[in-house]
Subunit: 339 residues, 2 copies
């Protein structure tokens, strides 16, 4: 059972994640500032959207907070949680996507959310990184930081949330992951199967559907969201600091814009949240804050053999065991992509 002040606590948590990260990003950027717009949802609730445009580091960054409610959840969610049928629902969450200008800095995404509907409640969320140029140590750092955040709550979590992320952020029509992943989880209520793979995400399961032998209670799942949300800046900031002064030219910029096209494809074709929002009268401008400021498409493009762009495509858009697969080191060393 959730505590009596569950909604207020969850809302306060996602608001504090949003605030902490926005402040940190403004300091990192040094010039860009987030502009905030509040909005009201006619069907119930509302939110705050913050956007940074043409910063020094961030070409665009969008950060959303929302707290919404309604009379009945849509069928796509009720399929996963039939017990919620016929009950009013409440949801609060924060999400963000940052598109840096320098192609050596990866694009990043974060989302943490909490739902209640009658007898059921659950937490969901995660964070994933999408590099344009391959650096093994950046991938390792991002994964390790999130693994530690998960481990601090339950050491059985990361081995499930990591492959779940690879599976969710997958472009089936390209046979590519969106990036090097991170963590993803959904419908976490402490009991029952936590990861059903094919049933929940439409592609084959790659991980256990059980997290340890222990059910997690509301407070532990709250702590998980808090711990992972707070891991975001430590996971991402060092990568920015390391890459921000790396010089780039037209070649790198063109490749970045091309790969950003894939980001658009994922978000508009496969991302359940985006599609659901657009098809059900969500706030379009807030939903599409995740799209890049500039992107390009080129028929029949493929990176020249042996290039760093090919390494990105071949190795960094496939699911990898970043923290444990030693063969990655060799593959990256010859391309100067360990760093």
């Amino acid at each position: 059972m959730p505590p009596s002040d569950s909604r207020e606590r969850a809302k306060t948590l996602v608001l504090s994640i949003q605030d902490e990260i926005c402040s940190g990003l403004e300091i990192l950027d040094g010039e860009g500032k987030f502009i905030e717009e509040s909005w009201v949802r006619p069907e119930g609730g509302g939110g705050k959207s913050r956007v940074m445009q043409q910063g020094k580091i961030f070409e665009q960054g969008g950060v959303n907070f929302s707290e919404v409610h309604g009379q009945e959840l849509p069928p796509s969610i009720l399929n996963q949680r039939p017990e919620a049928k016929g009950h009013p629902w409440f949801a609060t969450g924060t999400s963000m996507v940052l598109h840096p200008r320098n192609p050596f800095i990866p694009t990043v995404h974060l989302n943490y959310r909490y739902f209640e509907a009658g007898p059921v409640w659950w937490f969901g969320g995660g964070a994933d990184l999408t590099p344009f140029y391959p650096y093994l140590n950046d991938a390792k750092h991002f994964h390790m930081t999130h693994k530690e955040a998960c481990d601090s709550v339950n050491p059985e979590l990361h081995k499930v949330f990591k492959p779940w992320c690879d599976e969710y952020f997958f472009l089936k029509h390209r046979d590519e992951t969106r990036g090097i992943g991170g963590i993803f989880y959904d419908y976490q209520n402490g009991a029952g199967p936590l990861y059903k793979g094919q049933n929940m995400d439409g592609v084959a399961a790659q991980a256990s559907n059980k997290i340890g032998s222990q059910e997690m209670n509301w407070d532990q799942l709250f702590n998980l969201a808090q711990s992972c949300g707070r891991a975001f800046l430590p996971a991402y900031s060092p990568i920015i600091e390391k890459r921000q002064n790396q010089l780039y030219g037209d070649r790198e910029r063109e490749f970045q814009l091309y790969r950003r096209g894939r980001y658009v494809e994922f978000n508009l074709v496969w991302d359940r949240g985006t599609i659901f929002g657009l098809q059900t009268n969500g706030r379009t401008e807030s939903i599409l804050m995740s799209l890049p400021p500039l992107a390009r498409w080129e028929y029949g493009y493929s990176a020249s053999k042996g290039s760093r762009e090919a390494l990105l495509t071949d190795l960094f858009t496939k699911p990898q065991n970043w923290l444990s697969d030693d063969s990655l080191q060799e593959a990256c060393l010859i391309h100067n992509a360990v760093d």
Copy 2:
């Protein structure tokens, strides 16, 4: 009943439409040439994709031809044609999208296709225009040319195919049409209801579901595709010739790239053909040839009041009776947008 050589005739027709238009476009462009790639579909059939990149007029143009077959149509089509269930099917068609560089020249799309599956067969297709800057006379010319092509087969057709186009090329999440429309039709087999609006396209019907009192036979529908396919160059070329030397600057280019973002949104979120292709293992590079070479997104953008960009958004992305509504003339005159 289709004639005994129906498949061959339909294939020859769409190939000749593709050839005629590509030749015409190369002459218009003066520099760019189409490069052709043939491909084989593992499940049966294949196609030819032609692309022009970095031409003088066309920043990118993609033209596809395909002739494919299989054992059973997908559920999304069987819903519309249940008689086809359990039968092998055949489909041939051509489609193209042209993205000109000059923002005063509209983007344009064309598609004509023919299906057979057991006891049923049908034609589908159409063409629609997406201007970035508003010119009433361009819209009128494009519509009038297609109206004449329809009228030459049956004067009852255009009044149905024109609103059907507005309805199909509609971005619900933006409350905008993709452009000024043209014609669109699907599941045309000469009998039965030809346009069921809500049932066929998911949005409210705006037109009669009956075309005159007369059923059209196979030859008449073949003639319709031929007539409309041949109307494409006369509908589009004069607009290119009129606009190609109009000077533009950063403002116009930026607006064009912004509006191209809407083109991406329509194709990836709403276009049944694109989504179906991507989700069912179609040839991704050929399907996504419709996407623009460069596009941008900007949070919260809105055109300044009274500008030509606002006229485009307010008037040219809403369904209009371009050929009969005299009030459009007044609205466009004050913006110098009749021409």
